[in-house]
Structures are given as C-alpha cells and as structure tokens.
Amino acid sequence: MTNIAVLTAYVIVLSLYVNLGIALYGIFARPSLVKKLIAITILSDTANAFAVLVGYRWPRNALPKPPVIPELPVTRRVLEEYTSSAVDPLPQALVLTAIVIGLAITLFIAFIIIQYYRLYGTVDVRKVRRI
C-alpha cells in the first residue's frame, strides 16, 4: 500500500515536470507569439501548482483541512486542532498573489502583441526576422 502511494506521488510530481517541459518547448520553439503567450500561462500555473503541492501535508490520524478557522471564539482547543490538521497557508497566500500578478502580465503582453501586429503585419517571429 505504501509503495503504491509513493509511486503515485512520483507520478504526480513527474507530470508537473512534464508540463514544465512542454511549456518551455512552447516558449522557445513555436513561431507564433500568441502560442508563446499560452505557453507562458501554462508555465506560471505549473510553478504555482508546485508551490501549493509543497505546502500540502497529511496529518496523523486526521483529515487535512483548509487553513481557515470557521469558529469565532478562538479558544485553545480550536487552535490546537487547527495547527495539528490544517495545511500550510503561506504557499497559498503567495500563489494567490502570483495568480493576480500573472493576470496583469498576461494583459500587458497581449496588448504588446497587438501593437506588434500593427507595426509588422504578422505575429510570426520567423517572418519578422526577415523584415
């Protein structure tokens, strides 16, 4: 049972690495600038997924919980239960910020691509090299 769990965890991490490789291939080798932008979004999402995966943990004899305290009078018992069973909230806060910053960067690159098309008449980098 434990061997199967470890093997499955390796499969998950390896598939995220494969996504990283696919995104890097798209950024470096595909000619269209819009395809490069799609590859950049895949790359940043994969980095965020790695961060969240690092913060995940499985507590002993309990189920993992999201890092939220739902009860308002925070007593010592509630805090002990929270710290013993919740996942790490720090990578989640970082990823939440990174998603919004990634949206801003994507919008900026999108309008740069539109201006590029107005100047050169194409978004193919091989044709622009010839001009």
Partner: protein, 88 residues
C-alpha cells in the same frame, strides 16, 4: 478509513495531473490558435481541481474566474485582432 481517503486523494490528483499533461501537449501542438486556447482552458480547469483537492478553496475561487474565464477571453480578443493560424 483514513488510508482509503488518502489513496482516493492520490488517485484523483494523478487523474487530474495526467489529464492536464495531455491538454497542455495538445494546446502546444495545435496549429489552430482558437482550439489551442480551448485546450489551455481545459488544462487550467484541471489545475483548479488539483488546487481544490490540495485543500486550497480560496485559490480556486480566484483561479477559476481568472484563468478559465478572463485569460481565454483576452487571448481570443488578441487572436481576433491578429492571425488565427500559426505558421502560415
């Protein structure tokens, strides 16, 4: 009981991760950019499910409107303003 839930969580994560790999490969290899955007949205929704299984519901609430709704809309706008097919 807890062991069964752990195996179930790992199986769900593996399923979503492998589906996202297939969707990302199709998104990069596709020459029609509109279909590439659709495959990229499928990959993003798989990542949203991965975040949900990894106990991050607040990230899911931000990630689904941003990465399945807003970014494909912006990319479709860019494709409408420029070329639809790659490598003509």
């Amino acid at each position: 009981m807890i062991v069964v839930l752990e195996v179930f969580t790992l199986a769900l994560l593996t399923l979503f991760a492998l589906t996202s790999v297939v969707a990302a490969y199709l998104a990069i290899r596709e020459r029609d950019l509109v279909r590439a955007v659709v495959f990229s949205a499928i990959q993003s929704s798989m990542y949203a499910l991965i975040y949900y299984v990894l106990m991050a519901p607040d990230i899911v609430l931000v990630y689904i409107p941003v990465s399945v709704g807003l970014i494909p809309a912006v990319l479709l706008f860019v494709i409408k303003k420029t070329e639809r097919y790659e490598g003509e």
